[in-house]
């Protein structure tokens, strides 16, 4: 059977396999290597690839196009100024950008100082967001999983992730016990991980 007839469409698993993640990562590393040398064209290529995603996450949280654009600039200028730290230290570059976009947006929403501790955690290469085709298949699956979650789990995850509420605030808002809120969020993420691995 020709290789292209094998059913390989599980981007999540494919991306987990660093040895086979030839769809995006090496190219990404090459771009970052050029950025280290001060190549503005490479930085613009990274911008073109990731800015819409960063912007969309920031806009979802902040609901303000101007502020969301600020987040895009802030993060990608950071990459431009210090690209060396992204080459191998952060794991999945695209996933890191999404997480940082969300965190910076929540910081801005809640008017608190940017917190670096979580930004600095290395992400596993489980989420290859560099390749557009695989990304769209994978994210469609993620959307289906999220929509299929029980309403309470969806709500808790939404409040924590996109509105930046603490578990205490979520419990106060929903009237649920703290432990229930924690469990719902964990179960939502567990369901997502299982579904993506299946």
């Amino acid at each position: 059977m020709p290789e292209n007839q094998v059913n390989p469409i599980n981007p999540y698993d494919r991306a987990r396999d660093a040895g086979r993640s030839a769809t995006g990562k090496p190219e990404e590393a090459a771009l970052l290597a050029r950025v280290i040398k001060g190549d503005q064209d490479a930085m613009v290529a990274i911008y073109d690839r990731y800015a819409p995603m960063i912007y969309s996450v920031a806009l979802r949280v902040l609901k303000d196009p101007g502020e969301a654009e600020d987040i895009v600039q802030e993060i990608l200028v950071q990459v431009w100024q210090n690209p060396a730290s992204f080459v191998s230290e952060r794991g999945s570059f695209g996933a890191w950008l999404v997480v940082v976009a969300r965190n910076r947006s929540i910081d801005r929403l809640r008017r608190r100082k940017p917190s670096e501790s979580v930004d600095e955690v290395v992400l596993p290469a489980t989420t290859n967001l560099a390749n557009e085709a695989e990304r769209s298949i994978m994210l469609e699956k993620v959307r289906q999983v999220l929509v299929g979650l029980p309403t309470e789990q969806q709500k808790s995850l939404e409040l924590a992730f996109f509105e930046g509420l603490t578990h205490t605030e979520i419990a106060a808002k929903t009237g649920d016990p703290l432990g229930t809120v924690k469990t719902r969020i964990r179960m939502a993420l567990t369901s997502l991980r299982k579904a993506m691995q299946s």
Binding site: V77, V98, S115, L123, T126, F161, L165, M196
Partner: protein, 270 residues
């Protein structure tokens, strides 16, 4: 194990989302500093969260955003290649040494300036809060508009004359007149579709009836005339809320309809 208990998975997920209190965050951070297993768990939770984040619908960037970014990194590059920052005079020192001895008026001036600054900060805070409220409301309006569009699509699909309606049957059976009612008593919401209905003379109409479960008289639930293919629908007719149905029935009435059904009931279902 590092001689310490691991952090529960729930708390690691919350930590990854920065959804713990400052005290809890510090405690988790202290543990992570010495526990590779929990660091790995946080890392995996962040991977999951990245998927949640990336699943948002992609929005187009504002016009000119790319150019603004290019200008920014261009300016940054120029700055990096320009003269050494350390050769610039220390601004704060120069300011201090040049400052004249304070007089009473000078002190009042500084106090006034401080008050003005405080007022400006308060105004900025108010402005920020109002902008956030406005943006939140805009977002709600956008969401409501999207829901309204969706509802309108649903209505159009159910009621438009140009909608295609097909009755599926087993084999090559001749399709018979049939009606399908979906009813939510608590809201008095009814959606009824009929297929293969026979044509009527112009002075007649079909009338749908709700037969209440409590034994009271039939409630008129809408008039309809089938199109050329025999299809018709009644969507959300005016019905009282909280009336459970025992059955639905269809009669043929004069074109203006009736308040009581005229026998025979040509289609019914319970």
């Amino acid at each position: 194990m590092n001689g310490a208990q691991h952090i529960p998975e729930e708390d690691l997920a919350l930590y990854a989302m920065q959804a713990l209190s400052p005290e809890e965050t510090r405690a988790v951070q202290a543990h992570l500093d010495v526990c590779p297993a929990c660091r790995q768990a946080v890392s995996e939770a962040l991977g999951d969260l990245a998927l949640v984040g990336a699943s948002v619908e992609l929005q187009p960037l504002p016009q000119g955003a790319r150019e603004r970014f290019m200008q920014r990194i261009g300016a940054d590059s120029n700055l990096a290649t320009s003269s050494d920052r350390s050769t610039r005079p220390a601004h704060s020192e120069a300011t201090v040494t040049a400052m004249p001895r304070r007089s009473l008026f000078g002190t009042i001036g500084w106090l006034a300036a401080a008050a003005a600054l405080f007022f400006a900060a308060w105004l900025a805070n108010q402005d920020h809060n109002l902008r956030q409220q406005l943006n939140a409301q805009r977002w709600q309006v956008t969401q409501l508009a999207a829901k309204a569009d969706r509802a309108q699509d649903l209505m159009d699909a159910l009621t438009s004359r140009s909608a295609q309606r097909v009755t599926l049957t087993e084999g090559k059976q001749t399709a018979k007149p049939a009606g399908h009612a979906t009813y939510l008593p608590s809201r008095g919401a009814l959606i009824f579709t009929a297929t293969n209905m026979r044509p009527l003379p112009s002075n007649k109409t079909y009338e749908l009836w709700l037969i209440p479960a409590n034994g009271t008289g039939p409630v008129p639930a809408g008039l309809f005339r089938p199109d050329a293919t025999g299809s018709a629908s009644v969507v959300l007719p005016a019905l009282p809320q909280g009336v459970p149905a025992k059955a639905f029935g269809i009669t043929i009435e004069n074109a203006v309809g009736s308040t009581t059904p005229t026998l025979p009931i040509i289609l019914s279902g319970s």
